[in-house]
Amino acid sequence: MNDKLLEVEGLETQFNTPDGVVHAVNGVSLELHEGETLCLVGESGCGKSVTVLSILKLIQSPPGKIAAGKAFFKGADLLAMGNEEIRQIRGGQISMIFQDPMTSLNPIMTIGKQLEEPMLLHLGISKNEAQERSVKLLESVGIPQAADRLKDYPHQYSGGMRQRVMIAMALSCNPQILIADEPTTALDVTIQAQIVDLVVRLREELGMAIIWITHDLGIAASIANRIAVMYGGFIIEKAPVSELYAHPTHPYTIGLLNSLPQIQARGRKRLYSIEGMPPVLYQMPHSCPFAPRCKWVVEHCWHENPPLDPIGDGHEVACWVDTVTGKER
């Protein structure tokens, strides 16, 4: 896990709205190594989807605009690519599972046809070969009687099955990177467990790298090698998975983890709660975006936004205060 497959630097994405400019992503940098699973976590509206959509140049413009940044994939900057060039990569070497399975499957096209299309485009194989491969793919994601079910339409599949079809589709062209945007959020826990189990198995078989978006810190713990926590359009903490859960360091991450009930704990404690609300994004903040909700806040926090700095063990954090000692860094 040493070679950097993807390296995003200083990504900034904004939206022009009648109420003003929404600063959705404000200088996000991240890297993805070969075979690695990176989880992007954070609350609704913090910029997770916009980050990955920007990397694939899928931001609609207007109203959206990628204002700055680079995204190197095997040496080439995706953000500098023309439409035709990026289309060759999208759905091929980098594939994506979108947040809502119902809107990303075409309701009037059979599952089989939808599976074959990207393969015909990216793999240059024949219709027959694509059909055979579709059956194998559906089988590998656990759809029974796969050959028959290719003729079905999306509404004939359950929510969990549709999500598995989305995974099959995303894997059909042997991607090196799979980007999955909350692929299990709408599903029941038992189906969620099925899907996570499936992706972990396929990841090992295919050796692909994954960016997995979730707001569920439990799912992130079960699947990630590394985690990046986002807040108000910034990455505020980044660390290897065991390091993050053992030593959460940013006040927001600490608060999030503490506000979850502990399933293993025997007793019943009052839940910790982060008071206040997530920030509105109409202005680029000149303070720490978390300052209004932060228990550790010091004067400095109100005057300058802390950069994401390394603190050892592959751990990076954007905070002026050392939350272990309570002193300013």
Partner: protein, 342 residues
């Protein structure tokens, strides 16, 4: 927290079937058995958690208990009054005592009504107060749910999800109810906001002596807030027990699978635990499997499971389970003590 064995609400053999119609003349061709013979008791002052997968009948059960649906058969008693036998107006009057908080904080508030009118609505409907009295009560309720009383003249779109859910709670509390059905009150909210709402519900229960039926599919949150937990699968209750018992000594294979599927925010957990992965999806409630409804996905099903519907048996005092593979003779009682109980 539960500190009585006095029954406040008693649900007896309750069924709620929704008819399925087909064709131009809308002939009934079957029915969705959303709630199919459920009996439960809710004790005064407790929180009874209700969990299960999407579509298993949790909301329908909650609504039928409040008589928002007319049950197909069975009874619901509030104290000693059989709600199913009451005339519509008498039923409406009972709603003073029994209220509901809804799942979707965005859809459940009328966007054209001010916060004052939303919260004051039940008082107007029951003719309980008017004018200035309502204003005062609304301010009091807003303070109770920790919102600024000055918000009374604002409209729902000006509030975040967590704030709207508080408004919903304030409306439910307007008539001083004793019993509240909380239908997934936090699932639409962000993690950092969920804890705020749960803490509020717990404080209100303590201060006002409320009784909750708390519906959710987040099992870790249900365990946190409940005194006892009932697990539903396809319209029936398959297990019912004390909050600790159900987590440390679950007996039904469905409960075990549900518990093992909970994502735990601790990477070390996944190195030491093997998950039970259930195959397939929940069958349709219009055509449920014969015998035990879980048998089509059950890892320990045997042929006999298809024959008869297993009854909910008390195998340990206070611990009920509906599975023929559970042998009461072999079941052991594991003493679990709340170490940090409030």
């Amino acid at each position: 927290m539960n500190n009585s064995n006095e029954v406040l609400v008693k649900i007896e053999d309750l069924k709620m079937y929704f008819p399925i119609y087909r064709g131009v003349i809308r002939r009934q061709v079957g029915s969705v058995r959303a709630v199919d013979d459920v009996s439960l008791e809710v004790y005064k002052g407790e929180t009874l958690g209700l969990v299960g997968e999407s579509g298993c009948g949790k909301t329908t059960l909650g609504r039928t208990v409040l008589q928002l649906y007319k049950p197909t058969s069975g009874h619901v008693y509030y104290e000693d009054v059989d709600l199913t036998k009451l005339k519509p107006e008498a039923q409406r009057q009972m709603r003073k005592y029994m209220q509901m908080i809804f799942q979707d904080p965005y859809a459940s508030l009328n966007p054209r009504m001010s916060v004052r009118d939303i919260i004051g609505d039940p008082m107007v409907a029951f003719g309980a107060a008017s004018g200035k009295q309502i204003d005062d009560r609304v301010r009091e309720l807003l303070q109770l749910v920790r919102l600024d009383p000055e918000y009374a003249n604002r409209y729902p779109h000006e509030f975040s999800g967590g704030q709207r859910q508080r408004i919903g709670v304030a409306r439910a509390l307007a008539m001083n109810p004793s019993f509240i059905v909380c239908d997934e009150p936090i699932s639409a909210l962000d993690v950092s906001i969920q804890a705020q709402v749960v803490n509020l519900l717990e404080d209100l229960q303590r201060d006002l002596g409320l009784t909750y039926l708390f519906i959710a599919h987040d099992l870790s949150m249900v365990r946190h807030i409940s005194d006892r937990v009932a697990v539903m699968y396809l319209g029936v209750v398959v297990e019912l027990s004390d909050r600790n018992e159900i987590y440390y000594n679950s007996l039904h294979p469905y409960t075990k699978a549900l518990l093992s599927a909970i994502p735990v925010p601790d990477p070390a957990y996944y190195e030491t635990h093997q998950r039970i992965i259930l195959e397939g999806d929940v069958p349709s409630p219009a055509n449920p499997p014969s015998g035990c409804r879980f048998r089509t996905r059950c890892p320990i099903a045997i042929d006999e499971c298809a024959l008869e519907r297993p009854e909910l048996r008390e195998v340990i005092p206070g611990h009920f389970v509906a599975c023929i593979r559970v042998n009461p003779e072999e079941v052991q009682h594991k003493e679990v003590i709340d170490q940090e109980s409030l």
